[in-house]
């Protein structure tokens, strides 16, 4: 389990092994680890393809000319604010909504004419949609009964699913006799019982409290790895997406703002929208002044000086840009540091103690604020930084990202 914890979320951090796909139990300690990145392989054919898909409800555009490829065995997250079209995308794949334009291919087959009950996908509904008049076991067996399976086979598969989600003792209960977390597991087992090629999960953990959520995230990842199915998960919780996903699509108003691995989405956002949506970020506006040694010199009124930013961006002098710096990449010191390129003086305006982290909000000369954070590595600090103290914030040129969009 612990090998699934992605340490610091740095770009290109080693991804856990994917060898177990389709052959549960084969990989053990010392098994060879392989990078799982079919999207980087031009020869790989995607399992799910959206090609120029549009969907409107009346005048409202829910999905706007969207292209998307998801590969076999991938754990794919759709992330975005409320109303950006995540559920609509999923419902089109399940067959409950028809695209107005474009095609949806599953394993190379156009799904347009295929009704929901014949698609090789199963969905776990946001509301769980458990059948209230059936027991846990009957709920799980429902999908199997629609296949021509023998009674014994169905029973065996139901037992297997119950074991997987650890609900065997509750098999005879009705959904209303279960807790939220237990219902969620029944819904998962029911959706997985038919061994779908693709499992769609619409905010699967939405109804759970934080602690249960975190546990369940890892359970979901383990189950996905064990079954080798392709998981397409909707969430609006960015941490959840970062923890679970192989790749994340950040959506904005029916379009994909960025599609990448969690590390790259966090460290190399392509636009202000993505940088702002994922995690905390300081957005400093400025204008390009000149280039030296692969660094751009940016005049930044907020800091009252110039910033050096490592970037390959092609800019014209005077062009308006945004420099994005994550709070944890900014150091604060009482004395002006001499070893870092970008130093910004400021006054401590606010301190937020989060236990593991403390965030400091600095007020800069121009009146803007700058957020920094620091891990609380020891329990006692001799002379902690306090309110209204003047400190120096600093960050390296490669800690910042230059955004032009």
């Amino acid at each position: 389990m612990s090998d699934r914890l992605r340490g610091d979320g740095v770009a290109g951090a080693a991804r856990p092994a994917k060898e177990r796909i389709g052959k549960p139990g084969r990989a053990g300690l010392g098994a060879v680890r392989r990078e799982f990145a079919p999207w980087a392989d031009p020869a790989a054919t995607p399992l799910i393809r959206f090609e120029g898909v549009c969907k409107r409800f009346g005048d409202a555009v829910a999905i706007d000319n969207l292209d998307l490829s998801v590969y076999r065995g991938e754990f794919f997250c759709l992330l975005g604010p409320s109303g950006c079209g995540k559920s609509t995308l999923m419902r089109m794949l399940a067959g409950f909504e028809q695209p107005d334009a474009g095609r949806i291919l599953l394993d190379g087959v156009d799904q347009a004419e295929i009704p929901p009950h014949n698609r090789p996908v199963n969905m776990m509904f946001q509301s769980y949609a458990l059948f209230p008049h059936m027991s846990v076991a009957q709920n799980i067996a429902f999908g199997l009964r629609q296949l021509s399976l023998s009674k014994a086979d169905i029973q065996a598969r139901v037992d297997e699913m119950l074991t997987m989600v650890q609900l065997t003792p509750l098999a005879r209960r009705k959904p209303h006799q279960l807790s939220g977390g237990q219902r969620q597991r029944v819904a998962l087992a029911r959706a997985l019982a038919r061994r779908p090629q693709v499992l769609l999960l619409d905010e699967p953990l939405g109804a759970l409290d934080k602690k249960l959520r975190e546990e369940t995230q890892f359970e979901l990842m383990d189950i996905q790895e064990e079954l080798g199915a392709t998981f397409l998960v909707v969430t609006h919780d960015q941490e959840e997406a970062m923890v679970m996903a192989d790749r994340i699509a950040v959506m904005n108003q029916g379009r994909i703002a960025q599609l990448d691995t969690p590390g790259r989405i966090y460290e190399e956002p392509v636009s202000r929208y993505v940088a702002d949506f994922i995690g905390d970020v300081n957005l400093l506006e400025g204008a390009a002044v000149g280039r030296e040694d692969g660094l751009w010199r940016i005049a930044c009124p907020a800091t009252g000086g110039e910033l050096l930013v490592a970037s390959d961006a092609v800019l014209t002098v005077g062009q308006q840009v945004v420099v994005a710096v994550r709070p944890e990449k900014i150091r604060i010191d009482r004395a002006r540091p001499t070893d870092v390129a970008n130093v910004i003086p400021g006054e401590v305006w606010d301190i937020g103690y989060l236990g593991d982290w403390t965030t400091y909000v600095l007020k800069l000369a121009g009146g803007e604020t700058l957020k920094t954070s620091r891990a609380n590595v020891s329990r006692h600090v001799v002379e902690p930084v306090t309110w209204e103290e003047t400190v120096f914030a600093s960050f390296a040129p490669d800690a910042a990202v230059m955004l032009t969009g």
């Binding site: 009704p115 009950h117 969905m123 769980y128 458990l130 209230p132 008049h133 429902f142 296949l147 038919r194």
Partner: protein
């Protein structure tokens, strides 16, 4: 003034209830009267009930009524379910408003008009009036009540349950029978009972569209009363009242029953 109003309101309520229910209570009481005279109390007896069950004409009428009620209630429930599904599940379609209006029209249409209209229709079509014409007439009227009841239940039915069923491989028809029908069954039963009781006690419409050999119980009672009220008729009416009360009571309980906590 206030005190007066406080004292008056239970009184008014009592009077209202008295005028509504005293005749019925009296009728039921008189049905247990031992005397042959309808207005003189001669002690408690069940003899008129015994007489009733050996009165071939009344029994035959009752049997006709029950058969008509069963068939028309079944038809009304099926048609009402279909209409309710169409109205709740199919969003907007051409003619939806017209369809809603037509489905609900018999709720407010005077029975005499419905009876007359149907009579003209059957005569125009040259249909022999009898058992089936009454069934059709009763179905027409009661299916709109069934639609109202079932539609109310479908309106707060979580559509994602049906979607989940289809997602799990059930065809739309199977999804209906395996998931929707069991969950709306109480309201379907309520609709059936309501339709059954309405058919059982209908006199006006049946008088228009019935024919030889299809005299319903209310029609038989009515025609006998014109010749004079006998204690036997009181007994027959009491049985009918009991049936209606039980039917409506069950329908009410079924409608009121909370849907199981949706999960």
């Amino acid at each position: 003034m206030k005190g007066l109003r406080r004292a008056a309101s239970p009184l008014i309520l009592g009077l209202g209830l008295f005028f509504l229910y005293a005749p019925i209570v009296l009728l039921v009481l008189w049905s247990f009267n031992d005397s042959r005279l309808v207005t003189v109390w001669g002690g408690f007896s069940l003899r008129w009930y015994a007489a009733l069950f050996s009165n071939a004409a009344l029994m035959e009428a009752a049997w006709v009524s029950i058969r008509i009620a069963l068939v028309s209630a079944a038809l009304a429930t099926i048609l009402g379910t279909m209409a309710a599904l169409t109205l709740t599940r199919h969003g907007r379609f051409a003619g939806r408003t017209a369809f809603t209006g037509m489905a609900y029209a018999p709720l407010v249409m005077p029975e005499v008009m419905i009876g007359l209209a149907l009579l003209l229709l059957f005569v125009g079509l040259g249909v022999d009036r009898g058992f089936w014409t009454v069934v059709i007439a009763h179905t027409t009227v009661t299916m709109c009540f069934a639609t109202v009841i079932i539609r109310a239940r479908l309106a707060d039915f979580d559509v994602s349950l049906e979607e989940a069923a289809m997602d799990l491989g059930a065809t739309p028809v199977r999804a209906f029978f395996l998931v929707t029908a069991p969950l709306i069954a109480p309201s379907m039963a309520a609709a059936f009972l309501l339709a059954f009781t309405m058919s059982m006690d209908d006199l006006v419409i049946a008088s228009f569209v019935s024919g030889p050999g299809a005299t319903t119980l209310p029609m038989r009672i009515y025609s006998q009363v014109r010749l004079g009220v006998t204690p036997e008729i009181n007994a027959a009416s009491s049985v009918l009242i009991a049936l209606v009360v039980v039917g409506l009571g069950c329908a009410f309980l079924l409608m009121r029953r909370r849907k199981p906590a949706s999960a």
